[in-house]
C-alpha cells in the first residue's frame, strides 16, 4: 500500500479551542466537507473523518453525504460522489482510531498540525521518510477547526508536522487551504 493510502485525515470539531482558548465544539462548515474530501481523493488518502460529538451536526454531515452519494447529487456530479465516498462521521478521536484499527488491524499513529511551530516538529520530507520506514503502519492526520487543537490532543500525538510558511510572518491559512498544501507537499507530483 502506498503511503497516501495508509493515511487518513480527521477534521476535529471537538475538542478545539475558541478565541479565548476555552475548549469548545465548533460547528461543521459545508465547504470543509467538500474541499477536504476532494483534496483527500486527489491525493489518494484512505478515509476522511469528520469528528464531532454533536448529534445534530452529525446528522447534517450525513444528510450532505447521502445527497451526493445516493441522492440527486450522485448523478448530477459523479466526481463529487467519488470524493464524498471517503467521508465518515465519528463521535471522537478514539472512535476514528477504532475504525482505522477495524479496517487495517493496526492502531494508527497520530500526526497533528498547528500554525505555531513546536520544538519537536517534523518536516514534510521527514514525515515521508517516517511513512516509508513503517510500510504497514496506518497514520491519522488531525486538523483543528476554531482556534486550533487542544494541548490534550497535542500530548496524545506521535508526530507534530511543521507549520506551513509562506515566507513572511503571516500564516493564517484556512483549514481547507492548509489541508490542500499539506497533502500536496507530502504526495503531490
Amino acid at each position: 500500500m502506498t503511503a497516501a493510502a495508509r493515511l487518513s485525515i480527521a477534521l476535529m470539531h471537538y475538542p478545539v479551542l475558541d478565541k479565548n482558548r476555552d475548549v469548545v465544539a465548533s460547528a461543521v462548515t459545508n465547504l470543509d466537507i467538500h474541499d477536504i474530501a476532494r483534496s483527500a481523493r486527489t491525493f489518494g488518502l484512505s478515509r476522511y473523518y469528520i469528528v464531532t460529538p454533536v448529534q445534530e451536526q452529525q446528522k447534517l454531515v450525513e444528510k450532505i453525504r447521502l445527497h451526493w452519494i445516493e441522492g440527486w447529487g450522485a448523478t448530477y456530479n459523479p466526481k463529487r460522489k467519488a470524493a464524498l465516498e471517503l467521508l465518515q462521521t465519528e463521535n471522537s478521536l478514539d472512535d476514528a482510531l477504532s475504525d482505522i484499527e477495524r479496517r487495517t488491524g493496526k492502531r494508527a499513529k497520530i500526526i497533528v498540525t498547528g500554525a505555531a511551530g513546536r520544538a519537536n516538529s517534523v518536516s514534510f520530507s521527514g514525515m515521508l521518510e517516517l511513512f516509508e520506514a513503517e510500510p504497514d503502519q496506518p497514520f491519522l492526520l488531525l486538523l483543528g477547526t476554531g482556534w486550533g487543537l487542544t494541548e490534550e490532543i497535542f500530548d496524545r500525538s506521535d508526530y507534530v508536522l511543521e507549520p506551513i510558511s509562506g515566507g513572511g510572518d503571516y500564516n493564517h491559512l484556512s483549514v481547507r487551504s492548509a489541508a490542500a498544501i499539506m497533502l500536496d507537499r507530502l504526495f503531490g507530483r
Copy 2:
C-alpha cells in the same frame, strides 16, 4: 520587488463555463473571498481581484470586505483584515489589467490555469524562472469558477500553468484548494 509581490490573482466569475459549457456569470462564494485572500496574504501577493460584472454580486463582496476592513470584524479578527486588504472587485479582466497598469506602470502578463493539461503548459518551476527573467514585469494569475475559464480567456493568456496532479486520475480540487497549492508550489518554503 519579489516575484510574489509582482503577482496578483483574479477569481473570474465571468466569462466562465457552466456544466453544459455555456458561457455564464457564476455566483460569488463567501469562502472563496476569505480563503484565497488568506492564501494571497500568506504568500505575499500584490492584489486579489474578484471579477464579476454583476452589480449585486459586487455589492455583496464590498459589504463583506468593509465588514472585515472597517466594521466590527476589523477589531474582532485583525488577521482577517490583513488578508482582505488585498481584495478588490473589478467588472472585467480588462479592468483588473488597467488597475495593475495604474499601480505598476506596466501591462501584466496573464497566466491561466486549468484542470486539463494543455500542449503549451508551463511547469511551476518554469513559471518561477519566467518571473525571475523579467524582474520588473507584473503578472496576473486567473482562476476560473463554475466549470472553468472560456477558450476566449485561454486565447488571451501569455502562459498556461500546468495542472495540479495528485498522482492518480482524480483532479477535481476546489478552486480554493487549487489556489493554495499553486501559491505554495511557487512561493512556499
